[in-house]
């Protein structure tokens, strides 16, 4: 049979033979409940924007968001308790979504982190009241030009952008799907679903709006650019395997499926397609995790975005993206690990070292944390490279530990303020320990956790991934890892020095007394940091049980 006729049969069969009914898809709604709840809540959130009076929107949205996320988390817990994480793990929604340990663990992590992040979104006590109404971190009216009359009018009217809550919920729903996606199409769609709201959220800062918009533009353009790469990679993989299903691609990669049709031999199983496609796919994901050299958006976006959004992004996005990366590498591409492991070694090394080195000379606390997140991405990559069971569970653990520290740290950043809003320049932080020992001490705890000092979650996580990497034969990577940890320690310590050992400046910032919302966010961060540092066994168990992908 010639190629032409084979292709022709695509549409000729439809005419000649009897048309099969399109079978109704079989969707396991219960197992997709976490995602569905969040999506539903987001839709309801949009409706709230439309129908609920402006005054009550804030409360309604906050309430809805928190309830929805909590319910989704409860659903995750219920699924896990039912054994979907382990024995009953399977692929749901016609092969589109996996319900397995890693997926549930990461979804749970994302949901918890999101709840905490929503608390910081909802914080309205940091800034003094403007014209009798409380203000949060978001622009009064995003559409109005910064500094314009319309903006002032919006502020005067006490507008707030309560749309951030449904936007966040949409983003969360995408993030929930992302690590669970079991085909490349779902992966792509989920990526866009969580990215697009984030682009918007970045643009919504109340203060320093020009920077906020700039951050959004950069994030958006670069994000779209990387999505295009990712999509082209998907196309090539599809060309390689003839399917976008993870399992199907994996079979072809492993060589368990032979070419069914000699006519397709030209493309199917063509390794060049696999390699190039795989690399482009990797690039798209590495962009999201912020690995060098795809990291350059990170500092600018972290700095420009409203700080609660930065915290949310830094925590949840990273979790979701690493989840997807893990699944891709462990489910789809283990057959070509000899190809991607050396490359990932390189990426991990430049990410760890590069992030740490550039961070040394940063002068803005948010940029500093951005570079820190890059370095951490490198550490996590070391665990990813392990390619063993410990690799999965250690990365899961690290992500859980890291996300809470990050949100807590950014929440602390929101507290330190001067006339221009948040005082993010490091020089402003001098002597904070003397003015406000508690905030400084808490922030120091977060920094120490970032630095991986024992008895904090950062150490446990770092130990876990390095151990996995060493067991996976990546000993040199571990050595590079500890060296860059040492470099990284330098700038964390620099901040501590500044806070505790420098004399406070007379015109220094004030530390706002937050509402219980932010306090909760910070408190949860500290608690998780210390508990995971001192008694991590339960959570390690959890991550260990969750550490098996379904295929």
């Amino acid at each position: 049979m010639s190629t032409a006729t084979a292709v022709h049969s695509l549409w000729t069969t439809a005419a000649d033979g009897k048309v099969d009914k399109i079978p109704a898809p079989h969707i396991e709604y219960a197992q997709l409940a976490p995602t569905l709840i969040v999506v539903g809540a987001a839709v309801v959130g949009v409706l709230i924007e439309a129908f609920v009076p402006r005054k009550s929107r804030y409360y309604a949205q906050v309430f809805l968001s928190v309830i929805a996320l909590a319910a989704a988390f409860a659903a995750v817990v219920a699924l896990a308790a039912d054994g979907y994480g382990t024995t009953k793990a399977h692929i749901a929604a016609m092969g589109a979504v996996a319900v397995d340990g890693p997926a549930l663990f990461l979804q749970g992590t994302i949901l918890l982190a999101s709840i905490v992040a929503i608390f910081t979104f909802a914080e309205r006590r940091l800034d003094p009241e403007a014209h009798g109404s409380r203000v949060d971190s978001f622009a009064a009216q995003a559409a109005s030009v910064p500094g314009s009359d319309s903006e002032q009018a919006a502020v005067k009217a006490g507008f707030t952008t309560t749309e951030v809550f449904p936007l966040a919920l949409f983003a969360v729903s995408g993030m929930l799907v992302f690590p669970a996606a079991n085909d490349l199409l779902t992966l792509f769609v989920a990526l866009e679903v969580f990215s697009l709201p984030l682009y918007l959220l970045c643009a919504l800062a109340r203060r320093k709006r020009l920077m906020s918009q700039e951050a959004a533009v950069k994030y958006f353009l670069l994000g779209a650019f990387s999505s295009a790469f990712l999509l082209f990679g998907i196309a090539l993989l599809y060309g390689y395997a003839g399917s976008v299903q993870y399992a199907a691609i994996a079979d072809v990669v492993d060589g368990t499926v032979q070419t069914v049709d000699p006519a397709l031999a030209g493309t199917m199983g063509n390794d060049a397609l696999l390699l190039i496609g795989g690399a482009m796919l990797l690039m798209g994901l590495l962009f999201k995790v912020g690995a060098v050299p795809f990291h350059m958006w990170t500092p600018d976006v972290y700095q420009g975005a409203p700080t609660p959004v930065t915290g949310f992004m830094a925590a949840a996005t990273k979790v979701a993206a690493f989840g997807a990366l893990l699944r891709l590498l462990y489910v789809v591409l283990p057959g070509m690990r000899w190809d991607w492991r050396p490359v990932m070694w390189g990426v991990a090394i430049v990410t760890m070292v590069g992030g740490a080195i550039v961070a040394i000379t940063q002068t803005d606390i948010k940029r500093l944390l951005a570079y820190s997140s890059i370095a951490h991405a490198g550490f996590i990559l070391a665990g990813v490279i392990a390619t063993n069971a410990d690799g999965i569970s250690s990365v899961l653990f690290y992500l859980g530990a890291y996300s809470f520290v990050t949100i807590g740290a950014f929440a602390c950043v929101t507290l330190v303020r001067d006339a221009g809003g948040e005082a993010t320049h490091l020089s402003k932080w001098a002597g904070l320990g003397r003015r406000s020992p508690l905030v400084a001490a808490v922030f120091a705890v977060f920094l120490l956790a970032f630095a991986g000092i024992p008895l904090t979650s950062g150490f446990t996580g770092k130990f876990a991934v390095f151990k996995a990497a060493a067991e996976g034969g990546a000993g040199p990577l571990v050595v590079v890892g500890v060296i860059s940890s040492a470099i990284a320690a330098f700038f964390y310590i620099r901040v501590i020095v500044l806070m505790f050992f420098s004399e406070p400046k007379p015109d220094g910032p004030t530390v706002a007394v937050p509402s219980p919302l932010t306090m909760t966010a910070i408190g949860v961060g500290v608690a998780v940091t210390l508990v995971l540092g001192v008694a991590p066994q339960y959570f390690l168990d959890l991550a260990g049980q969750a550490g098996v992908f379904v295929r």
């Binding site: 353009l221 790469f229 050299p293 190809d339 490359v343 550039v358 000379t361």
Partner: protein, 627 residues
């Protein structure tokens, strides 16, 4: 009875502890307490002596194991004492002279506000010195060894407000430490060789080891002895040590501590006897120091420094004698004892002079003092006669024997040594006569308005009188029937040398050189008036005044060199060792600053980086497959 040995040490130690910790409350009685405890110690010593005499010669040594000090697997250091004839001799000398000097100090230090502390230190010294001579192993000896060093340090620097005193004290301790290093290495070699450093084990097994180890031990012990006994090349501290109060000079830097080196070599005779070469070195050291000290003594105008030179020289005699082996040990110790008497007496006399002369030490500002201080004059005079070896007095008996033994060494060596010892005797006679003449004879050269020479109080003169008796009689008593030699023989063994010169000739020549020395001094200082300002003098005189340039050498080589070394090391530490670290940090900082510039804020350049990254990623993946 042997339980008393510990008490012997404990008494002065208790004194030291009480006096040093007691505070100002004890100021009024401190000196009496200190003296009392020294006397108690002496009393105990006498009792033990009597007990020892009651036993037969071979049965006299007693041992007392007190407690296990440092018990570590294979390394058993004990606190144990060995009281034999040699130790006994020292015990009596130390406690006897020590007690006398305590009494003397009561008067001498009367106006010093820190007299209590002074007595505390003196007691501390007694305890340490007793420990040194009573220890039954080298490690415990080492404790006493450094203990006396400490006491010496504290006492030399007793007048700490004088920078010169503080410097002298430090110098003494440091130079001694060099010697201590020798002792410590010697002990280490002993441990690795015999598995022990107890006297008994070492001396019993010393014959079973080779030349190398014995030589090392011997040389290291000699180094230690040189440090403590101010022998060349570690002699430089003794002259400066005269900064201490005069009783200190008398007790520590004349009678007892400085002779510890002689004790050490004598005690270790069993080792030295095994290695002839080391003995030769010992003899050379002794001979050189003998002349060195004597020459220095001739040039000094400071009465105490002149005496210090003399001490050095006399100890040179003793060291020389110990180097002769069994023919010399007993005589070395005998000279040590007699020297203890007369040199202590001389120093006390000098102190008495200074006491009466407003602490003036320059002999050129003395003169004709015999009328003002008759007791001092007489006692000092007797000491003088003893040291120059005036026939019949102590020094004569002991020094004469050493000269004899030197000749008995035999061969060319014997002749050389004999000549050196005789020469030394002549110089001794010269410089001591010079001291005598400048101080007590001639015109008075002091300022009569400021200075009113007077005799010292009884507390000071009585010890001087007692010591003068010792100076006169001790030598003779010891020599009756060779009693001293026989007394020591079980410990040190003794052999009569085979002298090429008969004893009579030696004695005669000794007397001759003595007369020459005295005559020369008389010609120079007795017949004509002594200039108040020292003449420039010959090259040798000038060198001798500067301790034969020893300090200049030390200063240039050790002090300057050391300063340069430490300064450059400080520099190295700062720039190199620290610099590497700071440089690494700065390097990372610079790298960071440069990499940071890549983040130029332009979205397009970020896109370029991503695009490039993607290209590299793809290329690398393809390359991995190709490879």
């Amino acid at each position: 009875m042997e339980n008393l040995i510990a008490l012997l040490i404990a008494a002065p130690l208790l004194g030291a502890a009480v006096l040093l910790c007691g505070g100002r409350r004890l100021d009024a009685v401190g000196h009496w307490l200190g003296t009392l405890l020294a006397a108690v110690s002496f009393g105990l010593g006498v009792a033990l002596f009597a007990d020892m005499l009651g036993r037969s010669a071979d049965n006299r040594a007693v041992h007392k194991h007190l407690f296990s000090w440092v018990p570590v697997e294979g390394f058993q250091a004990d606190v144990g004492f060995q009281l034999d004839q040699l130790s006994m001799t020292f015990v009596l000398l130390i406690t006897g002279v020590g007690t006398l000097i305590h009494i003397y100090s009561i008067g001498y230090m009367e106006h010093d506000e820190n007299r209590r502390r002074f007595f505390g230190y003196l007691n501390l010294f007694l305890a340490a010195m007793l420990l040194l001579v009573l220890a039954d192993n080298y490690l415990l000896l080492y404790v006493g060894w450094e203990g006396v060093g400490l006491a010496s340090y504290l006492l030399i620097g007793f007048w700490q407000h004088k920078p010169s005193a503080a410097t002298a004290a430090k110098k003494a301790f440091l130079v001694n430490r060099v010697g201590d290093m020798g002792l410590s290495i010697a002990i280490m070699v002993m441990f690795t060789t015999w598995g022990s450093f107890a006297f008994s084990t070492v001396f019993n097994q010393v014959g079973e080891t080779g030349w190398g180890r014995n030589t090392t031990v011997g040389l290291m012990l000699l180094l230690a002895a040189c440090g403590k006994s101010a022998q060349v090349p570690l002699q430089s501290w003794l002259g400066d040590a005269m900064e201490g109060p005069t009783p200190v000079s008398a007790l520590i830097h004349a009678a007892t501590m400085v002779t510890a080196g002689v004790y050490l070599i004598t005690r270790s005779g069993a080792i030295f006897n095994q290695v002839q070469d080391v003995q030769t070195v010992v003899v050379i050291v002794g001979a050189v120091t003998l002349l060195f000290g004597a020459i220095v003594g001739c040039a000094k105008d400071d009465i105490k420094k002149a005496l210090a030179g003399s001490t050095m020289s006399q100890i040179g005699y003793m060291i020389l004698a110990t180097g002769l082996g069994p023919i010399g040990y007993a005589f070395a110790i005998m000279h040590l004892v007699t020297h203890g008497f007369f040199k202590a007496g001389l120093f006390l006399g000098a102190g008495s002079v200074m006491h009466g002369m407003n602490d003036e030490v320059d002999m050129r500002k003395y003169g004709g003092l015999r009328k003002y201080m008759p007791v001092t004059f007489v006692t000092f005079g007797l000491g003088y006669l003893a040291i120059i070896g005036f026939p019949g007095l102590s020094g004569f008996w002991s020094k004469d024997k050493i000269i004899e033994a030197a000749f008995a060494k035999g061969g060319t060596e014997g002749w050389i040594l004999g000549a050196v010892t005789l020469l030394g005797a002549a110089i001794t006679a010269y410089y001591m006569t010079r001291v005598m003449l400048m101080t007590f004879f001639g015109e008075k050269r002091w300022n009569e308005e400021e200075t009113h020479p007077h005799e010292s109080p009884g507390t000071m003169t009585i010890p001087m009188i007692v010591l003068a008796f010792g100076s006169v009689l001790a030598g003779g008593l010891f020599s009756i029937n060779e009693s001293f030699v026989k007394w020591l023989e079980p410990v040190t063994s003794f052999s009569h040398g085979d002298s090429p010169v008969s004893a009579g000739v030696v004695t005669a020549s000794t007397i001759v050189v003595l007369l020459i020395g005295v005559g020369l001094a008389w010609a120079q200082y007795g017949r004509k008036p002594v200039p108040v300002v020292a003449p420039r003098g010959s090259l040798l005189t000038r060198a001798a005044r500067r301790d034969l340039l020893q300090d200049d050498f030390n200063h240039v080589v050790l002090v300057r060199g050391g300063e340069h070394l430490t300064r450059s090391l400080v520099y190295v530490d700062h720039t190199l060792v620290d610099g590497v670290v700071n440089g690494t940090a700065a390097g990372f900082g610079g790298l960071s600053g440069r990499l940071r510039k890549l983040q130029n804020g332009f979205a397009r350049s970020y896109a370029v980086s991503m695009f490039g990254g993607a290209a590299v990623l793809i290329a690398a993946t393809l390359l991995m497959r190709a490879v």
